[in-house]
């Protein structure tokens, strides 16, 4: 069964004012459990608005959202439970930290769930380890940490609720390359370990191509396509026309194809590209450059 399903979901900002803007337009979507989904789309395409519907932060102007088959907004009291089921990490989540210690901040979500002290303690320590925070950091004030560490604390704060679906809005933005790959690595680790659904909003085609099993492309408030990375990045010209791009490595191989190289596969990760090149070179029967 689909863990998230939307039916003709629409959201309009500033209805009835001169500033009226349709942010999400008639979206039908079905997301299955256990997927790792990348959401891409140009700035203002409605990604952030869409994901805020999945945990009931925004109320649709029209249409319905179902989480685990349960209709949202039927019973307002159930909204809080939905928020524990669908964890949302906002952009720059480190600005939401407020407790005296990292431990207490990570425990904020689980505490709101009404878990027992033991369970909270277990979850805080587990997630801290998962996001790579040393135990001694847990007793420090979050405001003393570096930017990358703050972000880990903030992400851990949502992960500790063990939501069925974890949604992250550009979790790696503003970090250096090392911090980027570490954050994305730990999200992937989390996905592998918990087998939960993960949705990742990103502007980096490389990141999306590398980690995701499916990609959701948003364009002008509606869904352009929802498909596997191979199928999505196959449509490079269409993506470019809507202000997006394909991963650099895909462009390199597209050019190689245009130059007459005999490549049939779509390449969208560096790792696969490397394997393919090596295979091609060895297929040429020892005619590697070294032998000439």
């Amino acid at each position: 069964m689909a863990v998230i399903r939307t039916e003709k979901l629409s959201f309009v900002y500033g209805e009835g004012t001169p500033f009226r803007k349709v942010a999400v337009d008639n979206v039908d979507l079905e997301i299955n459990e256990g997927e790792f989904i990348g959401i891409i789309g140009h700035t203002g395409s409605g990604k952030s608005t869409l994901i805020q519907h999945f945990n009931g932060l925004l109320r649709p102007t029209s249409g319905e959202v179902y989480i685990d088959g349960e209709k949202l907004w039927d019973d307002k009291k159930k909204l809080r439970d939905i928020r524990f089921k669908v964890g949302l990490v906002f952009q720059y989540p480190e600005y939401q930290l407020f407790e005296e210690t990292c431990y207490k901040d990570i425990a904020f979500g689980p505490k709101n769930m009404g878990l027992s002290e033991d369970e909270i303690d277990k979850r805080v320590r587990e997630t801290a380890q998962l996001v790579g925070l040393k135990p001694e950091l847990l007793e420090k004030s979050p405001f003393e940490l570096s930017g990358g560490q703050k972000r880990r604390v903030a992400i851990a704060g949502v992960m500790a609720m063990e939501p069925k679906v974890l949604i992250l809005d550009e979790p790696a933005s503003g970090l250096d390359p090392k911090g980027r790959s570490q954050i994305l690595g730990l999200i992937r680790e989390y996905h592998k370990e918990k087998k939960n659904t993960v949705m990742l909003v990103s502007h980096s085609m490389e990141d999306v191509a590398k980690h995701c099993s499916k990609i959701l492309v948003m364009n002008n408030a509606s869904i352009y396509c929802y498909d596997t990375p191979a199928n999505v990045f196959h449509r490079s010209t269409e993506l470019e026309s809507m202000g997006l791009a394909v991963p650099q490595i895909t462009r390199v191989f597209d050019r190689l194809k245009a130059m007459g190289a005999n490549i049939n596969d779509d390449v969208y990760t560096v790792g696969y590209g490397k394997d393919l090149l090596c295979r091609m070179l060895s297929d040429k029967g020892g005619q590697t450059p070294d032998d000439n």
Binding site: G14, Q52, L88, P93, Y95, Q96, N112
Partner: protein, 271 residues
């Protein structure tokens, strides 16, 4: 959503009143208030009422805005009228019950005061309806600039006002974001008693304070990087100049003012 609340009361438009120099507008508003207070009888006050209505018509501000500006002062109006009705004991008695006494003078004064207060509020809110907050601080700065001679930091005060106004929408947006983020972690802002609710604000207020301080520091740095060093020798993007419309406005207000003085001489004052 929080974003929908309006900042200030500015109501954009293209009327002659919108086009006026806001210094002139400020001074004429003060003249208008004086005019209401020197008018000693009903007839003089009617001049003030007519002035207010005509000026509203010229400004093109919808009349429902008048009601909107009156809502907050309704308690004051009721309170003063009650005081006047029950505590003025001269004149013919209209109604009596034990120690309470209502006289015709009392009723007349109550009506008089009510019209005066209503006119005062409605007329002066026209200033904030037709002037954007930024223009208003600019105008106040200009008008107060003689005070610089006695070392009142007029420019600095105006700059602080301007910055505060500029950052209200930013802070609202920030609050919105933090609220969503904490709600996503199950923060409960809507239920519980007053103490529980106050406690629920902590996760919102602390990040908001932290980011405000950060922002203030960044803004100060950015201003210094662009060589800001206070008001001395600073020129302006918007030069305030007097136009024909300002002159007409002065004569327009002067005419009504003269009218009030004439009525004061011709008619008897209300007690």
């Amino acid at each position: 959503m929080l974003k929908d609340i309006t900042i200030g009361q500015y109501f954009p438009g293209r009327s002659p009143i919108h086009k006026m120099d806001c210094r002139v507008k400020l001074i004429l508003t003060i003249v208008f208030i004086v005019m209401l207070f020197i008018s000693g009888n009903m007839i003089g006050l009617y001049v003030g009422v007519v002035f207010t209505l005509v000026t509203y018509l010229i400004s093109g501000i919808p009349f429902r805005m008048i009601l909107k500006s009156l809502r907050p002062i309704l308690p004051i109006v009721i309170f003063t009228s009650l005081l006047n009705i029950f505590f003025i004991r001269t004149g013919d008695i209209l109604w009596e019950w034990k120690f309470l006494k209502i006289t015709d003078n009392g009723v007349r004064t109550a009506i008089f005061m009510t019209i005066r207060i209503v006119c005062l509020i409605v007329g002066s809110s026209l200033l904030t309806y037709t002037t954007s907050p930024i223009d208003l601080t600019d105008g106040i700065e200009r008008l107060l600039s003689p005070l610089k001679k006695i070392r009142v930091p007029v420019h600095e005060l105006a700059m602080m006002m301007t910055i505060a106004l500029r950052f209200i929408p930013t802070l609202i947006e920030e609050t919105d974001k933090i609220m969503s983020a904490q709600k996503a972690r199950g923060a409960d802002l809507e239920t519980g008693g007053p103490i529980a609710r106050a406690k629920a604000l902590i996760p919102i207020l602390i990040p908001l304070f932290v980011s405000s301080f950060r922002r203030a520091e960044e803004l100060a740095l950015a201003m210094e990087c662009r060589c800001y060093h206070g008001g001395e020798g600073r020129t302006r993007m918007k030069q305030l100049k007097l136009h024909l419309v300002d002159l007409i406005a002065v004569f327009y207000v002067a005419a009504f003012f003269a009218g009030v003085i004439v009525t004061n001489i011709l008619f008897k004052a209300v007690t």
